[in-house]
Amino acid sequence: MISLNDFLIVGAALFCIGLYMLLTKRNAIQLLIGIELMLNAAILNLVAFGKYDKINNGGQIFALFAIVLAAATTAVALAIILTVYRKYKTIDPGRINSLKD
């Protein structure tokens, strides 16, 4: 029997991996993947906690919403990455530092 703790441990591990990717990777696509991992960790948690609401299945439904929204966000983020690439000819976030004062 797989306990709730196991789900939560996997979710936390996924979140940590996503965060690590977000902080260290030198490619915007990989950052996006990191974000997806973190989202999916959150969704996993939602689904795991969903077993305490068997009548309304609030957790399951919210997870579905989150997946849809994540897809939409990814599409927007990819479009931004494309535009950034057109402008800077790179997608390395370390080299895009125009925000500097």
């Binding site: 977000l22 902080l23 895009i96």
Partner: protein, 686 residues
């Protein structure tokens, strides 16, 4: 005034104004004429003075010994004081008004030839007309204001003419000297005019000095000078008299202010003739005549003493001078001394009479000197000699070469000495006789005046003879020094001869008196004489003319013997008296040393004080201010700026530290965010 019909009055006034204003018109025309040597200028000026002469003859004929004519208009008003301008014609002014153009006309004619080759011919006549205008206007002025204006103008135009050859240093020095010395007199006159105005409240000469005028009526009572306007302390009466005397002494060259006149010889000779005869020096005697009522008996005594001393001193100086014009200049000073003395002893009429006669013969002598000097200059340039053309030691024997000039010179000299049949005899004897009369009742010291005058007459005879002999008799000295010179000299054309003839005729007795031996019969004298019972009451009237003339004849013969025949004793040339006379009593040297030197050392002392004390104080002040401002700059830089610099330093360091976080990399931002959240989490947990 009642004797004239109104239309006659206005006619005479118009004529008088014409006579005065014509030279001014000539002056204005000449200013506008083109060219520097425009010969028209000479004819404009001469024509103007001729017409002015004609008008003044008519005015004179109408007004001489007639009631006076006085015409004026209101000029301006200051407060409640009205100033009038106009003309006042009485015997005193009409005779001067006749005299001025009568002298100026021959001088003008003479000048057209004398200045013919001058490069500033036009300017010369322009100045000459201005000079004549100022003098004519001076003699008819009826108000003290206009009198003063024209008095200044006479001084100024004489300044222009004395320095006419302004490229000569000596001429410039001479005209400056004349001008500066005349300023002394001008200040005196101004002070006197203002005091008289305050005392009497009027500028009108007729009101002030006419018969029974305000000044004659004012009295000195208990140390107060009671006048129509105000009562002043008597001290101011002395100041006013002193001022008038100062003005007279400078214009007529009386001791101690006479030194400008000999130096004024640097001007053209024709100008000297005008200055010495009618225009400049006569103004002083004229002023004395106009202001006669101002003087008290004691002040008149001082006047007599100064006149007598001047006459004597100038005569002694003239004895040894070698410059032709300088001798004449000192003789003028001497004769002017006679006139001032005449005024001082109350011989008012004789003094003015002498002024008139002196004008003619002195002008004549100057024109003669001009011809002689002109010819000497020709010789100098033709033979390229280095001589002084005015030095009489170079002349001699000119009577054969310049016969006409010689005769004119003899007449002039005789008149100057005062020999019978000349005009000088009449006028000079008038003064001498009256001086004896005056001194007779007054005691020993007063006797010095007639004695000095008679002695001066003797000296005059001597120096005039010496001058005539050295110039016209004997051998031509220049020919002896330079045997090979060539010269052709002559009396010159009609422009030279006509003036000499006119003036020589006027230097003889017939113009002035039918009887050549009795001055009381001269019309000029009787025109001014106020006393009626002036008969030959005592023996002086016979003794003095005879005695003086015998003295003169002896002196003339003595001088002639000394200088022509050289058969008697000759004069020692190195005694103290000779040097005193030759150096003009050291008066110029004294002025140079004491007054000029004194003023120079005073100014040097003032410059030293200015430089070291006043400037020193200012330098000290500036140094202090510079030190203070240096300290302020230091304080500003290190303290005030320092505080703000520390503040900016702190801000900059902080800013730089914070800037370090703004790397522009998203991942750093994320990392920071995460770190902060983590820190918060840890903080909340524990």
């Amino acid at each position: 005034m009642s004797n004239f019909q109104p239309y006659q009055q206005s006619l005479i006034i118009c004529l008088a104004l014409t006579a005065v204003l014509l030279p001014l018109l000539a002056f204005l025309i000449n200013v506008c004429l083109p060219g520097k040597t425009n010969k028209a200028a000479g004819w404009v000026s001469t024509g103007a003075i001729l017409l002015s002469f004609v008008s003044s003859i008519i005015v004179f004929a109408k007004l001489w010994n007639q009631p006076q004519l006085h015409w004026q208009f209101k000029w301006f008003t200051i407060g409640s004081t009205n100033a009038y301008a106009g003309i006042w014609l009485n015997n005193h002014s009409v005779i001067m008004m006749l005299l001025v153009p009568a002298i100026a006309l021959p001088v003008h004619i003479y000048s057209t030839a004398y200045m013919k080759h001058d490069e500033r011919y036009k300017r010369y006549f322009t100045y000459l007309s201005l000079f004549c205008f100022s003098m004519l206007a001076l003699v008819v002025a009826d108000s003290m204001i206009t009198f003063y204006v024209f008095w200044e103008l006479v001084g100024f135009s004489s300044y222009l003419l004395i320095g006419f050859w302004f490229t000569k240093d000596k001429a410039v020095a001479a005209n400056k000297k004349a001008f500066i010395m005349n300023r002394i007199g001008d200040v005196g006159l101004l002070v006197a005019l203002l005091i008289i105005f305050i005392q009497s409240g009027s500028f009108d000469l007729n009101q002030l000095f006419g018969s029974y005028g305000l000044i004659a009526q004012s009295q000195v009572v208990n140390g107060l000078w009671v006048g129509a306007g105000t009562t002043l302390p008597v001290f101011w009466q002395y100041v006013a008299c002193g001022g008038v005397f100062l003005a007279v002494a400078t214009k007529t060259a009386q001791f101690p202010l006479h030194t400008w006149l000999p130096d004024a010889m640097e001007g053209p000779t024709s100008v000297s003739a005008l200055i010495h005869a009618a225009t400049m020096v006569a103004a002083g005697v004229f002023l004395l005549g106009r202001f006669y009522a101002l003087f008290t008996p004691a002040e008149l005594d001082v006047l007599a003493a100064i006149g007598c001393f001047t006459a004597f001193m100038a005569a002694t100086i003239a004895l040894t001078q070698n410059d032709f014009k300088r001798i004449l200049a000192y003789s003028t000073i001497s004769q002017l001394g006679f006139m001032v003395m005449g005024m001082g002893i109350g011989a008012y009429a004789s003094s003015l009479f002498h002024l008139v006669t002196h004008a003619f013969f002195k002008c004549l002598l100057f024109l003669v000197a001009g011809i002689v000097i002109h010819e000497m200059q020709h010789i100098k340039y033709d033979n390229k000699l280095d001589i002084d053309p005015q030095n009489i030691l170079n002349m001699g024997g000119l009577r054969k070469k310049l016969p006409f000039t010689f005769i004119a010179a003899l007449i002039g000299a005789a008149a100057l000495i005062g020999l019978p049949l000349t005009s000088g005899f009449l006028s000079k004897d008038g003064i001498l006789i009256q001086s004896v009369d005056w001194a007779e009742h007054r005691g020993f010291w007063h006797m010095l005046a007639p004695l000095g005058a008679i002695l001066t007459t003797g000296l005059t005879a001597f120096y005039v003879t010496r001058m005539i002999v050295k110039v016209f008799f004997g051998e031509f000295k220049l020919e002896q020094f330079h045997p090979d010179i060539k010269f052709h000299i002559s009396d010159g054309g009609w422009q030279y001869k006509l003036p000499l003839m006119l003036l020589a005729a006027c230097s003889l007795f017939p113009l002035f008196s039918i009887n050549p031996f009795v001055y009381e019969h001269a019309w000029v004298f009787s025109g001014f004489s106020v006393e009626t019972g002036l008969d030959r009451v005592n023996i002086y009237h016979t003794i003095i003319p005879v005695g003086v003339n015998i003295l003169s004849v002896f002196v003339i013969y003595g001088a002639y013997a000394v200088y022509v025949k050289r058969n008697t004793w000759s004069f020692p040339q190195h005694t103290f008296l000779f040097r005193l006379s030759y150096n003009q009593w050291y008066i110029d040297a004294f002025y140079d040393k004491v007054i000029v030197g004194g003023i120079l050392s005073l100014t040097r002392a003032a410059a030293w004080i200015d430089k070291n004390v006043i400037d020193g104080f200012i330098h000290l002040l500036t140094d202090a201010i510079i030190g203070l401002s240096k300290f302020a700059a230091w304080f500003d830089y290190y303290v005030i700026d320092g505080a703000s610099r520390v503040a900016t330093f702190i801000v900059r360091v902080t800013g730089n530290f914070i800037r370090y976080f703004q790397s522009g990399k998203i991942q750093y931002y994320l990392f920071s965010m995460m770190a902060i959240v983590l820190l918060l989490f840890i903080y909340l947990l524990f």
